[in-house]
């Protein structure tokens, strides 16, 4: 190896896959270059990446500088500029920009596609990736400024593949696996994610928003992509009608033939399955009971928390009248504290061509683009101007399902048109009956 890395070397042992060993193998492969690749960025980029990381381990500080403006022509995002603050010693990573490549919905891949991605990144970049970044994109980690347009050209011309979003625009939307392999999915997350991603390519590539905006699609309230915590707009599958019950299968769980929760608790002896203790008593709305050998659900009272279905997937299935809820405003703590998504649309059909959903999206964007301050997330704008304003701007009707509880104070900002007779009155008429 080009640099000694005694601290990183200690991360090569232990069972969990070692990123250090992996980068070392990449460094060795680049040095050997068995396939005779005409590397477009320094051959020793991976050696220098390890070298600079070792230095950070030693110093307890990063050695990367903020990027400056790099990108591809016409796009406002998709590239994150990065330079090393020790370029003389680690010239291979002096320029080390990231590219965000839009991932396919559901993150399914054919090996044919992945190999082409690898060939391109081997040839024009460091060969190091993130599969995937936190937003969902494939991340190409580390290339030089000169290669950015070349990579973009090859992606679009040879791989039919675009960059993802960064900056003050729509970020690459992400979804759970949903109907592709999950029996709980209430709508086709991949179809909706893909369709809306294509519909809003302009918003994704050209920053016109006050700040970043994220969509995420969860097929059911289990929220496998954490939409409720990290998307400005989260789409969470739900249903309106009854949970479908297979009473025979319920008895099979009761009798122990079927393992609860798809066998997820097999690592410990929790004793025999007890439907009262494990399902009925844990139902948050207490809307289930046993009537002899029949499991009953008062579906009108069910809040669709998924617990009973998760515990007995072969006995209970989601309803048939499915759609999604839309929650808005989630964000990480910076700055006024973390915010969970707030229920805006309790139920909406989630079917092609998604016209109703697009109407909600666009009304929210219109509002936010008009009223949002620079670098104000939607959730912060909602906090600043209030939920009423959001209703006004989206034209939605107030509904108790939008709140956890009614307000704690009576300080209502009545509008003039809401009060009979308006605000203008005749003081002289008043004085006829009330002395000064």
């Amino acid at each position: 190896m080009k640099h000694e890395t005694p601290m990183l070397d200690q991360l090569e042992t232990g069972p969990w896959p070692s990123f250090v060993s992996d980068i070392k193998q990449e460094a060795a492969n680049r040095a050997k270059n068995e396939k005779n690749v005409d590397y477009q960025i320094p051959v020793d980029v991976c050696d220098d990446l390890l070298g600079v990381l070792e230095l950070s381990f030693k110093h307890g500080r990063t050695h990367w500088k903020h990027g400056g403006i790099v990108g591809v022509f016409g796009y406002g995002g998709g590239v994150i500029g990065r330079y090393c603050d020790q370029p003389e010693e680690f010239s291979g990573v002096a320029h080390f920009h990231t590219m965000r490549v839009a991932q396919p919905a559901g993150k399914f891949y054919s090996t044919d596609y992945l190999k082409k991605i690898c060939d391109l990144w081997d040839f024009r970049g460091s060969g190091i990736t993130n599969m995937h970044g936190s937003t969902g994109d494939i991340i190409f980690l580390g290339t030089t400024t000169k290669q950015l347009e070349e990579i973009f050209y090859e992606l679009t011309h040879n791989l039919n593949q675009d960059l993802g979003g960064s900056g003050s625009n729509l970020r690459t939307p992400a979804d759970c696996i949903g109907k592709a392999r999950c029996e709980y999915a209430c709508f086709d997350t991949q179809h909706m994610c893909h369709t809306l991603t294509h519909e809003y390519q302009d918003e994704l590539h050209r920053p016109a928003f006050p700040y970043k905006f994220k969509f995420k699609f969860d097929g059911c309230p289990n929220c496998c992509v954490a939409s409720i915590a990290r998307a400005d707009m989260s789409f969470i599958g739900t249903w309106k009608d009854d949970i479908r019950i297979d009473q025979e299968a319920v008895q099979a769980y009761v009798g122990g033939e079927l393992k609860p929760n798809g066998n997820a608790h097999a690592g410990r002896d929790w004793g025999a399955f007890d439907i009262n203790k494990e399902v009925i008593d844990l139902c948050p709305t207490k809307c289930m009971w046993m009537d002899g050998k029949e499991l009953k659900i008062d579906n009108k009272e069910c809040t669709r928390c998924m617990h009973c279905i998760n515990v007995m997937p072969r006995a209970l299935r989601i309803g048939k009248e499915t759609g999604c809820s839309i929650l808005v405003g989630a964000k990480a703590p910076i700055l006024d504290g973390a915010q969970m998504g707030t229920m805006l649309v309790p139920f909406i059909k989630a079917e092609e061509p998604y016209d109703e959903i697009k109407e909600v999206i666009e009304s929210i964007w219109d509002y936010w683009m008009e009223e949002g301050k620079n670098r104000e997330r939607l959730g912060e704008l909602m906090k600043r101007q209030g939920f009423q304003k959001l209703l006004e701007m989206t034209g939605l009707k107030p509904d108790p399902r939008m709140v956890q509880e009614p307000r704690h104070n009576p300080y209502i900002f009545w509008k003039e048109e809401e009060v009979e007779g308006g605000f203008e009155r005749d003081i002289n008429e008043f004085r006829k009956y009330h002395q000064r």
Binding site: P17, E26, H66, R82, P104, H157, R181, I236, H265, N310
Partner: protein
């Protein structure tokens, strides 16, 4: 290393330009068994840790082997993943939201050879390339951010502490003994790319020293008004400073007591670095969740205000995490998430059973929401 053009012409960037084509269509990438049964799955079961079967109305079965991995991976590693998928899975695979790799086969007979193959592959340094696990009531892969490998504001590394933590929690990656699933996440600064603020256990990098001011260069390197505007707490103001040589320059002053150590100023102005070996380290937050199962989604709460960075293996951090996991494993009821357990037994009891010290740093004092985290009832536990 001769430059090879892709065909792009820098003099005419718009020539043949293709834009706004988005990601590839997912339909191209479904394995046949998924394509045939999409939307028609009946139920699933975990056959053993890391191995799932999904059964469709048609009777078709999809067997999935889930393997952990560092999300930071090389093309050599991805090619190896492809080689495995070509050999066993008809050339298809997928990644999960939590950076696991899923290999799917349509027949039970293909399962054992696939599993054996995955388990046999090791890196030269000795670690597993494809540990099978990450299902059910256990720990799955840690979602994390960039850290010292790529970002400019981190207060800790990401891949290093993740590797160290997963080594320590490895048994729980391959075993489903916990009361419910336990999600661990890491973000290397308070910006928290990703969603660590709703994790059962969140490892968060945090700076504790305000920016240093490189007065001599500040005005040359930065737009001072932008640096001033970048500060969320309005701690920065423009000022004139006299350098040791008597020269007066435009610069900024920082009200240190207002600084929340976010690094936004440094993002704006490279002459305001704040990273520091002693100042930087880790905050542990626990008890968050995103699922709506039984109780509503919750935020994670800060239970350890600071642990120094201890590269390469962050032993105090991983020991503390292990202690919390053990206390949770012992104390929680079946199906109870870490946050639900802590709320049931009370936070005062949580600190006791986890053997963690409660310090003044753990009482919220940041803006309005803080008040509602203080105790407003006569009920508490001794």
């Amino acid at each position: 290393m001769a430059f090879i053009s892709s065909g792009y012409n820098p003099d005419k960037p718009m020539e043949d330009r293709i834009t706004d084509i988005g990601p590839r269509n997912y339909e191209e990438f479904y394995p046949p068994v998924v394509k045939a049964n999409k939307g028609k799955w009946l139920y699933h079961e975990i056959l053993e840790p890391g191995v799932l079967v999904h059964v469709a109305e048609s009777g078709d079965e999809c067997y999935t082997v889930r393997a952990g991995g560092a999300r930071l991976m090389s093309v050599t590693h991805i090619r190896e993943i492809c080689e495995i998928a070509d050999k066993h899975c008809g050339g298809y695979l997928r990644f999960t939201t939590r950076n696991n790799i899923e290999f799917m086969v349509d027949d039970k007979s293909k399962l054992e050879p696939l599993k054996k193959d995955l388990e046999s592959r090791k890196f030269d340094g000795g670690s597993l390339k494809f540990p099978v696990g990450g299902t059910g009531a256990g720990v799955t892969n840690i979602v994390h951010t960039q850290g010292w490998i790529h970002c400019h504001t981190p207060a800790t590394d990401a891949s290093g502490p993740v590797k160290a933590t997963m080594d320590v929690l490895f048994d729980d990656f391959q075993n489903m003994r916990l009361p419910a699933h336990l999600r661990v996440s890491l973000a290397c600064c308070l910006n928290m790319c990703g969603a660590v603020h709703c994790s059962d256990i969140a490892i968060l990098g945090y700076h504790r020293k305000p920016p240093m001011l490189d007065h001599e260069y500040l005005d040359k390197m930065c737009e001072i008004p932008l640096a001033v505007a970048a500060c969320p707490t309005a701690a920065i103001r423009p000022t004139k400073v006299e350098l040791p040589d008597g020269k007066k320059v435009n610069s900024v002053a920082v009200k240190n007591e207002r600084c929340m150590f976010c690094g936004n100023c440094y993002t704006m102005c490279p002459a305001m670095p704040l990273a520091d070996k002693e100042g930087d380290g880790i905050v542990l937050m626990v008890g968050g969740k995103v699922s709506n199962r039984i109780s509503a989604p919750k935020f994670s709460k800060v239970v350890v205000a600071f642990i120094p960075n201890e590269p390469p293996r962050w032993p105090t951090t991983t020991d503390t995490i292990q202690k919390i996991v053990e206390a949770y494993s012992k104390g929680a009821n079946k199906y109870e998430r870490l946050g639900e357990w802590a709320e049931r037994i009370s936070w005062e009891r949580f600190f006791e059973v986890c053997d963690l010290e409660f310090t003044h740093h753990l009482i919220d004092d940041f803006r309005d929401p803080a008040y509602y985290t203080w105790r407003q009832t006569s009920q508490f536990k001794f």
